[in-house]
Amino acid sequence: MVGTTHASGAVLDDLAGSVGGNAREATPGDAVAGVPAGVVASPATTEEASALLVLAARLGLTVVARGRGTVLGWGPPPRSADLVVDTSRLDGIVEHEAGDLVCTAEAGTRIDDVNAQVAGAGQQLALDQPVPGASLGGTLSTGRSGPRRMLYGTPRDLVVGITMVRADGVVAKAGGKVVKNVAGYDLAKLLGGAYGTLGIVTRMVVRLHPLPPSSRWLTCSYPDLDAAAGAAAAVTGSQLFPTAVEVRRSAGAAGADVQVLLEGTERGVRERAAAAAELLGDDAGEADLDTADVARLDGPSDAGLLVKVAVPLTGIARLLHTTREIEDRLGLSCGVVGSAGVGVLHVQLADVTGETSAAVQAVELLRNTARQTSGAGSAVVLHAPAEVRAHVDSWGPITGLDLMRRVKDEFDPDHRLSAGRFVGGI
């Protein structure tokens, strides 16, 4: 069955039977990063997901998990996708104990839906969405983050418990529903950012934070890149406890903008904003920004390139310069936006059609920058047109790859889960 794209009627019936009839033949719209899918099945419970994966294991089907499908095109394409496990029916909050600041929800639940519910208690799940509409599970599995990670962390920091289904259908839990807990291995860390290659997350317990009574965004534009990086570093290294320090260089621009988010009490935020404005410089001003808008990545288009670059805090200026170098030397349109306060940014190249070689060189330049600035960073190609993908290593150099392969072999010995999507061809 591996490698086929058309399910036989009997297989479809079997799969549908395990999920209460909620399975269908895939359509072209179900393709995963360009790879056509066979069957789409939608379990509504962990038990159904388990039954489905037991069956998939017996039939030797390759499996790709899908949340809300917002970034299914991120990462290299799978080798095949006989079965897409759609988690959108694993939907809803199971438990929200406001006094404990935790919430248990099915993995297909949208972050927006969690937030709509917990907001009533003055709480939030502080996960930004680069692409809106994302599910909890998809966000954990791809390790997505945004501006507020500087204060609240990433999915890895906010998930305190998971329920997962293994490649063989076995259901396992790790962590729990208390934030402080060191019993057993932290499987949520292992599955976080694993792109569905180790198992399918069906339920999560997440840590919530109080909604701040007051918040303000400040912005400041700088005519040159070093000044922007310097201002961002000044706020990052201050005692103002910013929630976010973003830097943004638009394609073609000589300079860059810095944006700072402060959250807290009314009076505290007012005083801190004044102090931050002084650090940012004369042109700093308050801006009426929506945090969700700042977090959102506009693009790239299908023909463009999206690269996540991680650098040490001391490497921000150099990265900004590299994006301009890509424009000057390679003739591509290249912008960057992201957290200068943490050192994780997204570089976007607009239309690279017919510019495959330049696009590949751009990734190399970014990778060199990430790796050369006082210690190793990384540049991961999240999105790229197929012709560029074919010529570039999406993940770049990986340390510990041998151990990672051994982990994969233990969890998914037949390499059926999102095979080929991950580092080293895992």
């Binding site: 962390g153 920091d157 076995v170 396992a172 839990k173 860390k189 991680a310 990384s378």
Partner: protein
């Protein structure tokens, strides 16, 4: 010749003579960690001076099938560094160099034997500190913290060790050396670093760590509030958190714990208090000032009869002294005690404390309570006299009941001390066999022969290579001709 003799012979010449300890009296000094109830004299002790030493030992252990246990300062409270009688104890306390402090990048690179507090001392001149602060921070090592995913009083706001380690060098159980993570965030690939942190030394030995440094807060305010009962103190805690305030720490002590601390360090807590809260707020001055008034109001409303605010660092240190000395102080009022580390949802605090009191009364055992109220991490100190017949058993039985009580309320058997040798038997009460089997898939990837700190964390080791529930085709027994078709 035993495997350990063979190993010893082969280490001679490859390591300094002084680093290989065979003398029984000297080995015996390492027989336990901070949990003295468990003691095993290690087969051999090696004092590692660098990562090469560690690699040499682990490669030989791998070759000869000899188990090893890593040990930092030996302050752990779950027997995580309990030695193996037929194995090597790899002592890392000699590796205590701080290799780099880079305030601009907000990170430091340290060897595993570096003491937790020394990272803060090194970073302080630059206005930074290392956030995780276990009560033992003056003597515990970063390597031990990494193994145990240590917390501390301030993890309510700042998180645990796992949130503060960027990268580590690991010598895997097969003797290979690997860097996990990068010094920038979000290293691509599986988050093996996040898996190794808190794995209690069962996945290899960390020989270097790059940790995050946190900017020192502009202001720190510490309050000590006296209450008539733990109920009142619990109410205050809930209303502070419920109001959306996240203090750096909220710590509670009950009457018996206060009594012990007074005896030991004369901390001068409010007289007659049935419970005290130590509440610390930190951050930008304007925020701290605003929250301070609010916190005081919540304490007042919950019935606090005395609220003190530390006027300076000396007074703050005195307030914390009572809390941080509490474990040791209990030694003043009881010859022996068991420290538990269960966690409960904060909302279950009152119910759990009541039931714990009932259980203690029924058993005729005294329990002093010192805990991180903000995150529901209890530290019941179960008091007993090992010389009196039956008391040890009664205390152990009560300890087990307390853990079961935490689990009944949806909590955990350990919040920061680790499972170690002590609580491995309780893992089956918290996790299903499938949960434990799945966790041990990781173990099989890193350490298929179970040489790295065997017997810790998991009650039953998984046979690596065996894949229950996913046999394809004929049953292996049938294939081997040992069984008929079932």
């Amino acid at each position: 010749m035993t495997a350990i003799d063979d190993l010893t012979a082969r280490l001679r010449g490859r390591l300094d003579d002084s680093a290989v300890i065979t003398d029984e009296a000297r080995r015996r000094t390492y027989e336990c960690d901070g949990l003295a109830a468990y003691a095993v004299v290690p087969g051999l002790v090696v004092l590692a001076h660098d990562a090469d030493d560690v690699q040499t030992v682990l490669a030989l252990c791998h070759e000869l099938g000899v188990p090893f246990v890593a040990r930092g300062s030996g302050t752990g409270l779950s027997g995580g560094a309990l030695p193996h009688s037929e194995g090597v104890l790899v002592v890392l306390s000699q590796m205590r160099e701080i290799l780099d402090v880079d305030p601009a990048a907000q990170r430091a690179v340290v060897q595993p034997g570096v003491l937790n507090l020394d990272v803060t001392v090194a970073a302080a001149p630059h206005g930074y500190y290392y956030a995780p602060d276990p009560s033992s921070q003056q003597i515990c090592s970063i390597g031990g913290n990494v193994a145990e995913n240590s917390g501390g009083a301030h993890c309510l706001k700042y998180g645990f060790t796992t949130n503060h380690v960027l990268s580590a060098e690991l010598v895997a159980p097969d003797g290979t050396r690997t860097r996990l993570g990068t010094t920038a965030p979000d290293a691509p690939g599986y988050d093996l670093l996040g898996t190794v942190v808190g794995s209690e030394g069962t996945l290899g030995v960390v020989t270097e760590a790059t940790v995050k440094l946190t900017r020192a807060p502009q202001a720190v305010k510490t309050l000590l509030a006296g209450f008539e009962s733990t109920d009142d103190a619990g109410t205050a805690t809930s209303s502070i958190i419920g109001a959306g305030i996240v203090p750096a720490a909220i710590e509670m002590m009950d009457a018996l714990a206060i009594h012990a601390a007074e005896e030991a360090v004369h901390c001068n807590y409010p007289k007659g208090a049935g419970a005290v809260l130590v509440i610390e707020l930190d951050g930008p001055t304007a925020e701290v000032d605003a929250q301070l008034d609010e916190v005081k109001a919540h304490c007042d409303k919950a019935g606090s009869f005395e609220i003190r605010q530390a006027a300076d660092d000396t007074e703050r240190a005195l307030i914390w002294r009572g809390r941080k000395s509490a474990f040791a102080a209990v030694g003043r009022i009881s010859p022996d005690y068991i420290v538990q580390d269960g966690v409960i949802p904060r909302t279950a605090l009152a119910a759990v404390l009541h039931r714990m009191g009932e259980l203690a009364d029924e058993a005729g055992v005294r329990v002093a309570n010192v805990f991180h109220a903000g995150d529901g991490n209890l530290h019941p100190l179960v008091l007993f006299d090992g010389e009196v017949e039956g008391e040890t058993e009664a205390a152990e039985a009560l300890s087990g009941q307390i853990l079961a009580l935490c689990l009944e309320h949806g909590g955990s058997i350990t919040g920061e001390h680790g499972v170690g040798a002590d609580k491995a038997k309780h893992m089956v009460e918290m996790f299903t066999p499938d949960d434990l089997d799945t966790m041990q898939l990781v173990r099989c990837a890193f350490d298929p022969r179970h040489l790295s700190n065997p017997g810790k964390v998991f009650p039953t080791p998984r046979l690596c290579g065996e894949r229950p529930g996913r046999h394809k085709g004929a049953h292996p027994l049938q294939e081997a001709g040992l069984a008929e078709v079932f």
